[in-house]
Subunit: 341 residues, 2 copies
Amino acid sequence: MAELKNRQWLLAARPQGIIKETDFRWNETTAPPPKDGELLVRNLAFSFDPTQRGWMSMDTYIPAIPIGQVMRASAIGQVVDSKKPGFAKGDLVQGLFGWEDYTITDGGGLFSVEKFPRGTDPVLSLSVLGITGLTAYFGTLEVGQPKSGETFVVSGAAGATGSVAGMIAKLKGCRVIGIAGGPQKCEWLTREAGFDAAIDYKNENVGEALTRLCPKGIDIYFDNVGGEILELVLDRLAFRARVVLCGAISQYNEAAGVMAHPPRNYFRLIFHGARMEGFLVFHFAQQYPAARQALSEWHAKGKIKNQVDLQRGLENAPKTIIRLFTGANFGKQLLTLGNPE
Amino acid sequence: MAELKNRQWLLAARPQGIIKETDFRWNETTAPPPKDGELLVRNLAFSFDPTQRGWMSMDTYIPAIPIGQVMRASAIGQVVDSKKPGFAKGDLVQGLFGWEDYTITDGGGLFSVEKFPRGTDPVLSLSVLGITGLTAYFGTLEVGQPKSGETFVVSGAAGATGSVAGMIAKLKGCRVIGIAGGPQKCEWLTREAGFDAAIDYKNENVGEALTRLCPKGIDIYFDNVGGEILELVLDRLAFRARVVLCGAISQYNEAAGVMAHPPRNYFRLIFHGARMEGFLVFHFAQQYPAARQALSEWHAKGKIKNQVDLQRGLENAPKTIIRLFTGANFGKQLLTLGNPE
């Protein structure tokens, strides 16, 4: 096989405050052939996820990305060469790859490589059927335990996980209120995604709106943002409420490991007999097939709408991750490099 | 009936920082006869509980005590005169009474008046069989859900609730580690109360001790103190850990409603698929009889030891509540006024 030119973005610096383009460094090299047990994958599309800031900053549930190494990303690609049993040239695979044209992987680790049927839309595989959709699925159903008639509030509601979480809660009979930034996102939530109401945190008093929209208190809060909004929700919990901790994007830009704004009123959990429970999607890995089956069906029936913010070209990866942390994206942030063969 | 002299402690000021004797004002008046539906109760003993600081400061799960009103306390007393069906002179009753010789009550409210069999030890009724013991019971069993072989850590471990919580966890087969202040309390925990280990937070590095004593992480943390110790525990959780939020005495001396030290690393709940759950004992009111039955039996068999710090005389009530917040008490803090007739 001819030598493969491999363009890459390396991690140049741990982010201080908001991620900057200079936190990454462009590199050009060649992709080696796979060794025994390895795959050589051509990347087709990258997922952009809040958790990536953690990987850039420090050891979390996986070790930090070493400085000078390829920026890590959840991605879908196509196998170019396989020395791993069970995988063949042309297979569509999803896993934890990197911002580069070609990735060598042994297929293991926390996000172990998964095969998708040929013909699967790469965009769908990284959104509704990917980590994003699965996160919404398990967070809402397994952690949130929604019951019909309950009030379900989700922040980051127009985001990739938040929107799917709200739509799943709606399917389970909840009254669903989304918190998002800007009138366009809020209109999408109520017109397209079927939410009962939306709160524009950039232009509304969130506390007043929650009080007005949740007269019986909040039964389930799917938290993607942390910070002040989490505190406003904790002040308005219903009895036996569940706070699903999915993320805290408002806090990720702070110095490593320090929360600028932890919930000063977490004590409200006591008064309301409520709980705050965290999860990682990997904790439910054994249930992925059933979850994908359900998500596929809901998507096919139009009950789950897939809103995607699609950027193009490897060179634009740093600009694209910044979109995520400035809230410029609308829907699941993806970047495509090419089409499957 | 002759006029009854009634000595009282009124709330004079909302506490700023630590409770001071001048937050209370002595008053002498007479007790009126009960009206229809009311009881006149002679107080025999008062319970001292961390939650009282909340009642003094602000509306919490019940309205704040109004300035100038009798200081509220969980108490046991004997009915002197009854205009309430189902209650008769001589009955032993427990309820939310006040720092005074005689209390008039309609028997309702969150701590509704409960009758105890004549002959019940007033001290036992306010400790193992009272709110304290019930809090330990429900927090440990219903919220904590202990399983045999799990590691159970409790703070405020030599306190009235913490010690019973640890002994119940021990009965359920957990490895139990208590955090308490001073060598005397720690020695009591391991020698008398049957804990597997104790950490003296005044003389030991709590983080190092937890790391050493909990090599597989902490499965259940029964939190009575909040603050820094909560953070140290959150950094050492086992997968699917449960943090039982019972109180945060280290935080109660702060200005009303402001937590000086909320858990900046609550985010750890996400990595460990763990939860933090609050409760009030009243949420389990329907299960009190079964809980008292179990606690009685365990106490009679010597499996639950009752450590009580007994003060005497109504005039000493302010000094006694201060003992609780300075950690001077050892075991359940009570104050007796007299014996049942």
